[in-house]
């Protein structure tokens, strides 16, 4: 019963990924039969006057978006967790509701409002990113906060800890796993996002995702486009690895 799907998965999931690698290490004009392995695309990317800057900007943007999401999302989740159970369920529903509406439509919706404001394209992109990714962060942190055993907090108070100490020594460490999973849910799509800058940034604001889109859809240089997405995928893999290690370290401290 499994073998048909294995054939399908190899053809539709594994093969496409191998194709990206194959294209990234070849140049245009190479046919599949006589292709030559080359680093040309990668050399071209890093020697370009613009592209490394775009990569750096995307990373910076994703990091800042993630930090803002934590800064805004943590207090929100914390207040939510203090509400009565019924109001908590209501808040979760209210936050999930807009997420059902198409991301593109929601981003488009911001254009009208932002046209009233005289802020830079960069600011507009940040608002769009925060809007799209903040719900993920709030819900992840909220889930980890609501799992905390209330008797731990009572115990901390009984043992003489004030509110600040209870928060720093009990609640914060126990909710960090939610922050870590929130980071992966925000950082990954933020790095590769390309329609938020395109819709809100006014076209001048280019991120790495826009480069990939351009090379595949407008320019048609798939080899170079594949190389860019491979570079992005590797950076994402490294950051995932770092976050996972962080998560494990936190887990060990808890024990």
């Amino acid at each position: 019963m499994v073998y048909p799907y294995i054939v399908w998965a190899v053809a539709m999931i594994l093969l496409p990924m191998l194709m990206i690698v194959l294209y990234a290490f070849t140049v245009k004009g190479n046919s599949v039969l006589t292709f030559q392995f080359t680093f040309d695309n990668f050399v071209r990317f890093f020697n370009d006057p613009v592209f490394p800057g775009v990569l750096w900007r995307s990373l910076k943007m994703a990091v800042i978006t993630t930090v803002i999401c934590i800064a805004v999302g943590y207090p929100t989740a914390y207040i939510m967790a203090k509400l009565k159970p019924n109001s908590q369920a209501m808040m979760v529903l209210l936050i999930t509701l807009p997420m059902w509406i198409n991301m593109l439509v929601r981003t488009y919706a911001w254009r009208g409002i932002l046209s009233h404001l005289t802020i830079s394209g960069e600011m507009k992109v940040y608002i769009g990113m925060l809007y799209n990714f903040l719900p993920f962060m709030i819900l992840q942190i909220y889930t980890s906060l609501s799992k905390i055993d209330p008797s731990l907090i009572v115990a901390a108070h009984d043992l003489g800890a004030d509110n600040r100490q209870t928060f720093l020594k009990v609640i914060l460490p126990l909710s960090l796993s939610g922050v870590v999973s929130g980071i992966t849910l925000v950082f990954l799509p933020a790095v590769s996002s390309f329609f938020i800058p395109k819709l809100l940034g006014g076209g001048q604001y280019v991120l790495i995702g826009n480069l990939i889109e351009d090379y595949f859809i407008s320019t048609g240089d798939w080899n170079f486009g594949s190389a860019i997405s491979l570079i992005m995928a590797i950076i994402i893999l490294i950051s995932m690895y770092i976050t996972r290690r962080l998560d494990r370290q936190i887990g060990e401290e808890d024990d």
Partner: protein
Amino acid sequence: MEQKTRAYEKIWLVLIMAFFYLPIIYVVFFSFNSSKSLSTFTGFSLQWYEKMFANRTIMESIWYTVSCAVIATVVSTIVGTITAIGLSKSRKTLREAVNQINNLPMLNPDIVTAIGFMLLFTSLRIKTGFTTMVLAHIAFCIPYVILSIMPKLRTLDPNLAEAALDLGCTPFQALWKVIIPQIMPGIISGALIAFSMSFDDFVISLFTTGPGINNISIYVYANVKRVNPTINALSAIIVYVITIVLIIVNVVPMIRERRKKKDEQLQNS
């Protein structure tokens, strides 16, 4: 963690909610605007709704979105269910290998999965269009279906299937009458995830579709450069449909619960 919330904390929550709902309300409001402007409201009108329903490309994009989501949901749910049941009985190494492959589209950014499909289809000389878009949707939906069914299968008592076989069921009957009903909640939630993933998808559709075949997201993306208030009407309609569906989904169980409680009270008295 239940505690008293202070006034400024409540204000903070209200502000966050305002942030989440402001653009949605804004778009719905301006879908009734009588002029083309997206910033000044000049009067009430339904002209953008009329224009939207008269626009063939928009109507086609709605049709493509819905039909693609329905096909992708049905196929991925059936294939995902069969595969999940098969995986639960196969060797651990095989199961791990399939899980690893399935993780790829779930962990990769959409754009990487999308260009992978595009390279695959064009290298195989398959003309991109509705079929390739549906194939790609099926491919990225199946892993989610499997993921939502697997936990149900893990908690399933293996004796049940054996008992059914001992009592004279054919293997197919045992599957259909014993196993499937037990894992039904997982199948349903998998189908719902598949539908919403496919319905909302933009990135993968953009790279796997062909000329003339747009879904709603691609239409919005391609038409935002010009001022085009029909998109407001289209967005507003999506908001209406989703709000109605979510109200039904959330309110119906509540009413049912209340009725159940009432019945119990009646029986007790």
